[in-house]
């Protein structure tokens, strides 16, 4: 009987051990199934939604800036800003309601706005002298203390530029160019760039020459050196375009690397923009008389409030005129969902014209 008891215990212990092994196996299989389940779950879309909402906010805020600037009929920044703020509030409310339907919370609020000025001369037959109470001034300041500039484009009547034909007969032709050719002077704390424009009446070509800070037009060897170091626009068309931001020059606006200084060294720095020699009276130089040295159109958008003294306005057809616009805006935005929180205190949008 003793042997029978011993065999029963063995079977019992064995059964217990097999049960333990089976439990372990069940645990492993369960873990494996759970892993499969976990690995095949789709990644959450919520981070993507948060980024999408941010892009939507940037785009729509820019559209609101565009609408406010487009609809502004007076040179009154308070009104432009007020229209924009009203539009933003309506937009933010509609977004909040729409997103709540899908279990997301979004909010958008105005943080800051930057006043800018759109300076424009639309009358192509007018010279580049100042307007307003400085009407007729040949040397004048368009804007002071601007940093970020949007479009800066001049459309110049080629025939109005200083004609340098036969200047070699003068005793100091480069001084005549320096004193009489229309130029844009860009003044920064680190120096002043001067962008001269003139033409060769015989060849029909127009030229753009940039004097860098510290350089002097008079240091060149002569007119031929001046011409050979200039951007040249061929003898076609009646007007030449000068685009500081692209940077391009000519009837067909081809690349002009000399103008590249504006993007690389000026934008982002505090600077002033002046027009010089818009109309000169070069007495003593037989070849020259009093005449316009530049006529045409121009537009520049700056990120500051320009002094209104040299401008007419605010009528749309006044030339030159300046009007207040919203240059840039920053808004706060928040996105919240079950798994994602994304808050930004400074989403920036600019007027699309500026970009």
């Amino acid at each position: 009987m003793a042997d029978v008891k011993a065999r029963g215990q063995l079977i019992l212990v064995t059964g217990l051990l097999i049960a333990v092994v089976l439990i372990g196996l069940a645990l492993v299989v369960n873990g494996a199934i759970y892993t499969e389940n976990l690995s095949t779950r789709e990644s959450s879309d919520e981070p993507r939604e948060a980024l999408e909402q941010r892009h939507v906010t940037e785009g729509d805020v820019q559209s609101l800036i565009d609408a406010a600037n487009r609809n502004a009929t007076t040179d009154d920044y308070g009104m432009v800003r007020g229209d924009f703020a009203d539009g933003l509030t309506q937009w933010a409310d509609s977004q909040r309601v729409q997103k709540l339907l899908t279990g997301r919370f979004v909010s958008t609020g105005l943080n800051s706005t930057t006043e800018g000025t759109q300076i424009r001369q639309a009358n192509a037959s007018r010279n580049f002298t100042a307007g307003g109470s400085l009407a007729g001034d040949s040397d004048w300041t368009l804007v002071e203390n601007t940093t970020d500039v949007g479009p800066f484009v001049l459309g110049i009547d080629r025939a109005s530029l200083l004609n340098i034909t036969d200047f070699d007969t003068l005793s100091d032709p480069l001084a005549a160019v320096s004193d009489n050719a229309f130029h844009v002077s860009v003044e920064t704390p680190s120096g002043t760039w001067k962008v001269y424009m003139f033409r060769d009446g015989t060849a029909g070509e127009v030229y753009l020459y940039v004097v860098d800070p510290g350089d002097d037009l008079g240091a060149l060897s002569g007119i031929s050196s001046l011409v050979s170091n200039s951007c040249v626009a061929g003898a076609t068309g009646s007007s030449a375009t000068v685009d500081f931001r692209e940077p391009q020059f000519g009837t067909d606006a081809t690349d002009c690397p000399e103008l590249g200084f504006y993007n690389t060294s000026v934008v982002g720095a505090d600077h002033d923009i002046h027009y010089r020699n818009a109309r000169t009276s070069a007495t003593g130089l037989g070849l020259l008389g009093e005449a316009d040295r530049a006529r045409g159109t121009y537009e520049v958008v700056v990120d500051t409030r320009a002094d209104r003294t040299p401008y007419y306005g605010p009528d749309a057809d006044a030339s030159p005129r300046a009007r207040s616009i919203i240059h840039a805006v920053t808004v706060t935005a928040a996105f919240r969902s079950d798994g994602v929180v994304h808050g930004s205190d400074e989403i920036e949008a600019e007027w699309s014209v500026v970009q």
Binding site: A6, L25, G31, S43, P47, R54, T330, H342, S344, I347
Partner: protein, 152 residues
């Protein structure tokens, strides 16, 4: 024709039967235990890999959100299992040059002794911390410009 005719005593017969049975059962148990252990290790490794990749994806998403202009408040929450195959585990963010990327995740369990590393695609720096399973949050510290993985 009795048992005596075979020249085998009953005692010997019992011992023989018990011996063979014991050897068979021990063999079966050893083989089954080894199999279960191997499977457990492999399953643990797979699950750590999956968890690591999911957390790494969350860190990458948080990085993208944190790098947007003006981002100040970013958090991504994920529910991870408390235990895997019956064992607790730990997740460590490391930067010691031994991982597949600069910052990487090291996930490990003590029993079985399994360690898995998963790379992290993040431009933003991370705080080198360790967390356990459960609810995990990837948070952005705007002041320090760092991402931190923490238990919620």
């Amino acid at each position: 024709m009795t048992g005596d005719d075979r020249a085998v005593s009953p005692v010997f017969s019992y011992v023989l039967t018990l011996g063979i049975t014991t050897i068979l059962i021990v063999g079966l148990l050893v083989a089954a235990t080894g199999y279960v252990d191997d499977q457990r290790r492999q399953t643990t490794e797979n699950q750590l890999q999956v968890i690591g990749q999911q957390l790494s994806a969350d860190i990458a998403a948080a990085d993208r959100l944190a790098r947007t202009d003006g981002a100040e408040d970013v958090a991504i929450r994920r529910d991870l299992p408390d235990r895997i195959v019956g064992s607790s585990y730990s997740i460590n963010v490391k930067i010691d040059g031994n991982g597949p990327t600069e910052y990487y995740l090291e996930l490990s369990t003590a029993r079985p002794d399994v360690t898995v590393t998963v790379g992290i695609a993040s431009v933003t720096d991370l705080v080198t911390t360790g967390v356990g399973g459960g609810e995990v949050v990837v948070r952005y510290d705007a002041a320090a410009d760092e991402l931190e993985v923490a238990n919620a």
